[in-house]
Symmetry: C2
Subunit: 261 residues, 2 copies
């Protein structure tokens, strides 16, 4: 009965935890948010790798059976380097999202939005090109989306204008599928949907990641069917700040957030 | 010929460095930006204190003769605790800004804007109340201003709308003086001015801090009058990111940013 480990630089990964809880309600989860060092997006590759290894080692101490990297920056920048260092299966967010997008697109034009770090890494582009070289990828960063979500400005005229400005190149390039390549973005789905219209498929990495985790666990034996599951939340700083934002991301209040060194 | 030390969690402190260079053109400056751990605003008090001590120790190794804390969060949260630990004079941004505001206000109504951490600390309020208990202080946080500045969205309809929304309570409370209590905010001065009108005095802490530094140095002996000064910039991560933003804050390009552990 070992738990699933999930880590992110902050609170965004809770959108992934939410999907894990929805799809795997009987699994235990240990979540770690690296609040003391958030955000990772502007940090160098070597720093992100070092932080990620430390986070993985923390989760391994909790005896996790699988680690879910619920952070696009870590998944794009660090995961290719560190994935094979560890015995435990590690699932990132890039591959599941890319696969779903390639499956969903009809006109072979896929958009990707994310933080500056994720977009600069070209991780989604490379993954999509490997899956189907014919798919054209239009990737762009929307750096203000994360602060807007964390400030709770997730609807109304201002965020809509920001979204219109950011997403204009995607509209112009007639993509029919867009990957929400940042764990904060599912919270802006209504705004993004309003700007891009009903005919564009929005790929929510969180959902795809949870499905991938479910698949891997199922391969190793039957999934738990009925028991009380335990969800634990750890942060490297400021549990109050984490708790205050957590409900928006997880869809339920988070109590008892523990601070670790 | 020892240099002045300046530190901030990131790039914002460069608006203070800019004023130091303008007012003390013949002084050497060593600037440290803690990019690896930015932002401090959401971190706990004990973490901010620990980071600040580490930054001060780094500057002391460079033989600085005075340390300028070019960060409102550190000045409000950590400085009261650590100020007396060190022999070197340490100048924060709170007291100089508060003094100027008390001096400037005619109707004894002062507004303060800053990050959430700075406002929650009530540092400006306490300082102003000590200087003049009759002054009414209206303090409010504008958390989206920093990301807007860092993304370069410093003019136009979107940031103007954000400013209108944030500053409405200040307009309603008829303050005649407003402290820009965050080192990023001077860059939004035109927008803030547009929202608050010409009759409100905007207090730019950077200017006041540089004047305070000048005063302290003058007390200890004559200031340098003519020589080539040296300005050095150190960061704890990602010198490229720092350089790309630096010009906006410093008013001149920054080359040769060095990364330290």
């Amino acid at each position: 009965m070992r738990p699933i480990g999930v880590f992110d630089s902050g609170v965004g990964g809770l959108t992934v935890a939410k999907e894990l809880i929805r799809q795997l309600p009987y699994e235990d989860i240990v979540y770690f948010g690296d609040i003391a060092r958030v955000p990772y997006g502007i940090k160098s590759k070597e720093t992100v790798i070092r932080f990620s290894i430390e986070n993985i080692l923390f989760l391994l101490k909790a005896q996790v059976k699988l680690i879910c990297v619920a952070c696009n920056t870590v998944s794009s920048v660090a995961l290719p380097v560190i994935k094979n260092h560890f015995k435990v299966p590690i699932v990132g967010v890039i591959n599941p999202g890319a696969r779903e997008a390639v499956y969903a697109t009809q006109n072979k034009r896929v958009g990707v939005i994310g933080t500056r770090g994720t977009i600069a890494s070209r991780a989604y582009e490379n993954e999509i090109k490997q899956l189907d070289p014919q798919v054209k990828v239009m990737a762009l960063s929307c750096p203000l989306f994360v602060p807007f979500v964390e400030e709770g400005w997730v609807e109304g005229e201002v965020v809509l204008r920001v979204a219109r400005e950011y997403l204009k190149p995607l509209k112009d390039s007639r993509v029919d599928t867009v990957i929400l390549g940042c764990t904060h973005y599912p919270i802006l789905k209504p705004v993004i949907r309003q700007v891009l219209g009903e005919n564009v498929t929005l790929i929510d990495s969180a959902k795809q990641v949870a499905m991938e985790v479910k698949k891997i666990l199922a391969q190793e034996g039957p999934l738990n069917k009925s028991r009380h599951s335990k969800h634990e939340f750890y942060v490297s700083d400021n549990p109050e700040w984490f708790s205050s934002l957590a409900q928006r991301f997880l869809g339920q209040p988070v109590r008892n957030v523990k601070k670790v060194k």
